[in-house]
Amino acid sequence: MRSIFQDMRYALRQLRRAPGFTATAVLTLALGLGASSTIFCLMDGLWLHPMRVPHPGQIVRIFGTTPQKQEGAFNYTEYQALAQRVNAFQGASAGLVAIGGRGSLMPRPDGTSSLLLTNVVSSNFFAVLGVHPLMGRVFTAQDAERLRTHPGVVLGYHCWQKEFASDPNIVGRQIALRHGKDHVSQVDVWGVLPSTFREIDPDSDRDLWMPAESWAAVRDAKELTSRDFRWFNLLGRLAPGATVRQANDQVATVAGTFAAADPSSNHGRGARAISDFSYRMSQAGTSGLVLFAIVGGVVLLAIVNVAHLLLARALVRAPEIALRLSLGARRWVVARQLLIENLMLAALGLTAGLGLAAALAAVLPHLLVREPAMLASYGSGVHFQLDTRVFFFASLLALVTMLLLSLVPLSQVARAALLPALGAGAATRTAGRTPMVRRAAVWLQIGISFALLVSTGALVRSFLNTRTQSIGLTRNQVLVAWTQGPDAPVRDTVLTNLRALSGVQSVAYGIRSPLMPSEGGIAAKVLLPSHPELHEPVEIKFNAVSSGFLDVTGTRVVLGRGITAADDAGGPVVVLINQSMAQKYWPGQNPIGQVVRLANGAVDARVVGVTENAPIIQIGEIPEPYLYVPFQQCESKLSNMGEIAFVLETRQNAMSMAQDVRQALIHVNPLLDPMMVTSLPELIRYSAGNYQMMAELVSALGLIGLALTVVGLYGFLAFRVTQRRREIGIRMALGASREATVSLVLLDTMRMAAIGLTIGVGLAFAAARFESAVLFGVRPLDALSLAVALVILAAAVAAAAWLPARRAASIEPMQALRTE
């Protein structure tokens, strides 16, 4: 133990004596560890962090499946059947809970309302997950009967802060919730949740938690009894000894009985269970994989750089090691000394890296694209924390790094020879060829850097494309106001008032605006008489829109006509389809005049036009069949939708009119106070947020990677020139000009760069296989990205080689050859 402390003291002294080496190694490690820890922090915050409940490893997610969808929801009846019949879960009601998202309106004194995001949950929700309240109490399965007659809610922490000013006496009070235009219910506040429990998913924070029994009492009970209302996600806590596989088999078996009992409604439906961890990993998906691969590349660059430094230092210290061995030191003692030096470097690098990560983590929330500007809140973003998970990740990485770097001193000691290092020959030998391992490390560095630059180029262009390319939506100023759907006469008044606002060019409305953050859009069950082979109705998403809606939102009609004022409740029912639907169901045919049977066969609508494919939920989604139905025909013949989105094309910045539009709506009726006001450009920007985040992160990592490569290559070449000083002296004494000496270094560098580039192209090809899924309007290996990466890397390599080449040319042969 004493000798280890002695080694540590000696190691510290050695590191202090070589401040340049120590600073470069620590900084390089800090960059690698800091960047990777920050990305881990981001990924953990966005996807990987387990639910903040006890024993999160026991939590599984259960999804309804159809041939088209593997992560579907259940209706409440299905949930109850599963809860009764599956025994792989523990706790109350078989340890299975249901959770579904809805909105509630809380009236304000001025007649307007606050939108409170509400999770409707089974009454056993908190007991199964093990969530305890900050104050008051949470409801349990035993409270189910009482909750039917005395509706109650639990408040989310931030809702308690924001809406009730952290009132310590809130528990036991009643709050009013408005349903529809006239109905207001009073519900009891049971408790307040702690700030640590926000949601079962990390990027959301719900205001109210209401048991299903209370929801049935204060809202439409049909939402819990109808088979068509599939809006509940299910989670289960595994019973002791039960496995995910058993749970999966059981839910699949029970789901099979649904299909058998009611084939018309449940044809092709099934269920599956996966662990919560697997689910989160799948959510990270390709973006996570690409980010992690890129971080891995940067860490590898840092490791290679430090390995270069250690190898260079090993050569400098060879005589010292030879001397120690010749004085009788055992090889393992010398190796231990060198390992302790490495360990100290890793510890310093880890400390600096975590400091860097802490600074970068503070910047992370600014990297995420802010949610669209709204008057009412809608979610509250992700919190990033440098917690113990990040610390363990960084420490593990530092440990792996240190173990890899330990190969350098271990091989150095194992191969150390006494005589050449100590003898006079040491001074007279020329450097000879660089060992293959060092050359290979340089090739790898250049290769990784090239692949990083290609990825950066593709992702940056992808992001720029979301800003510039045609996406099937206008980029003009369009304001979107989402509110309670008024009756037709009131709606007309609203339209008149909105059109009267100065700065408004045109106004239209639909059930929803494109890209509105709703869960998957609205779907209708549709039969197609021209496709008799489709025995069961197919679910196709649709929007009910007024005339002019497509013009305002910028979705072009490419065939036939658009929706006009003549398509009213009294006219023949018509429908527009998008190109994707035309290609899927009528490929190579003119779809105009085809019949689409809506409302479970009750209404036949004739196709009168085809629109281009426009994004429904987000930019970059794979186009799927979509319908546009005239709003008034939908209202009278299909269903009366509760909400409406007014879209206003404005002559000025749309958001500058938000208050005017809000006041115009409230002026007609305070109940029309919009739940959300935003603009189409904001929605487009938010929807492309993932592309922006990836472009920003990968650009930063690409730059770090390039910097590490330049520093590493410079260090390698500078050391190589020092090593070759004698050789260069000989060459110059034999007639080599200074230009020839510069060429000698540059040619050597170019050869290495060429091999590195070959490796880089291979890596870029491998990366392209994954990247195509996260790119918009650009192929991962397009010529421009490759060319730009090549130019940047060539400039960086030239910059790294220039100084060592100049230094080589300035060698004085007389001094280099002096051996006396």
Binding site: T430, G432, I730, R731, A733, G735, P813, E820
Partner: protein, 234 residues
């Protein structure tokens, strides 16, 4: 062939200036075999470096074949040295990762000669030095004497008018040293002017003239025609 007028060389270290060559006046005629002697630190190697045009820091005049080298810039001096001067080193200074033939080709590669002509010149010198069989070997596969043989072959492959040798036998045992010195004598007979630095009296006797340096001063300049013959006779 070579004329040095008032050549001086000093090195500065802080506030101290150390003189290694003082007011050297020297004329070397074409075909001479000159030996430079003196104790360590006397300035022998410094003089050789001045003659080789490897050093730029001296003062005075240096005439090479009526050409004022002292007026040349660094590049012009390097060109002159490349064309007219060959160097042999005590430590051979062969490049480890080049074969014997490649080492010999090295000075030719800096002279913009066609590859075929270079190959011919290398083949000639390998033949002349009787080392054809060793042309593909690396320096580490040769003895010290063989390495120095290659070093000399490399120095004369481009037929320099002046051959400079800095302790050429310093790392060799006596038999090998004698062989190398015989080779120098033969080259001298064929017309190459040779200036060697040595500590060995025996090696000095292969030359025709001895220069002796002490503390940078040229203290002796003696012609040894008869003694050289004596050595030869032995």
């Amino acid at each position: 062939m070579i004329e040095l007028k008032n050549v001086e060389r000093s090195y500065k270290a802080g506030h101290t200036e150390t003189w290694v060559l003082r007011r050297i006046e020297l004329t070397i005629k074409e075909g001479e075999f000159v030996t430079v002697m003196g104790p360590s630190g006397a300035g022998k190697s410094s003089l050789l470096n001045v003659l080789a045009l490897l050093d730029d820091g001296w003062l005075g005049e240096y005439w090479f074949d009526e050409t004022p080298a002292h007026k040349f810039n660094r590049k012009q001096r390097a060109d002159l040295a490349r064309q007219r001067i060959g160097m042999v080193f005590q430590s051979y200074h062969l490049l480890d990762d080049l074969t014997v033939a490649e080492n010999i080709d090295l000075p030719l590669s800096y002279k913009n000669l066609p590859a075929k002509e270079r190959q011919g010149m290398v083949a000639d010198i390998l033949d002349r030095f009787r080392i054809v069989a060793k042309k593909d070997l690396f320096p580490s596969q040769l003895s010290g004497g063989q390495q120095q043989l290659v070093g000399i072959a490399r120095a004369v492959v481009h037929a320099p008018k002046l051959l400079l040798a800095d302790e050429p036998t310093g790392n060799l045992h006596s038999t090998q040293a004698r062989e190398i010195m015989e080779l120098f004598r033969e080259l001298n007979r064929q017309g190459t002017t040779i200036v060697q630095v040595t500590h060995s009296e025996e090696n000095a006797r292969y030359g025709k003239r001895i220069l002796e340096l002490h503390d940078g001063w040229l203290t002796r300049d003696e012609t040894l025609e008869a003694k050289a013959t004596e050595v030869s006779a032995k």
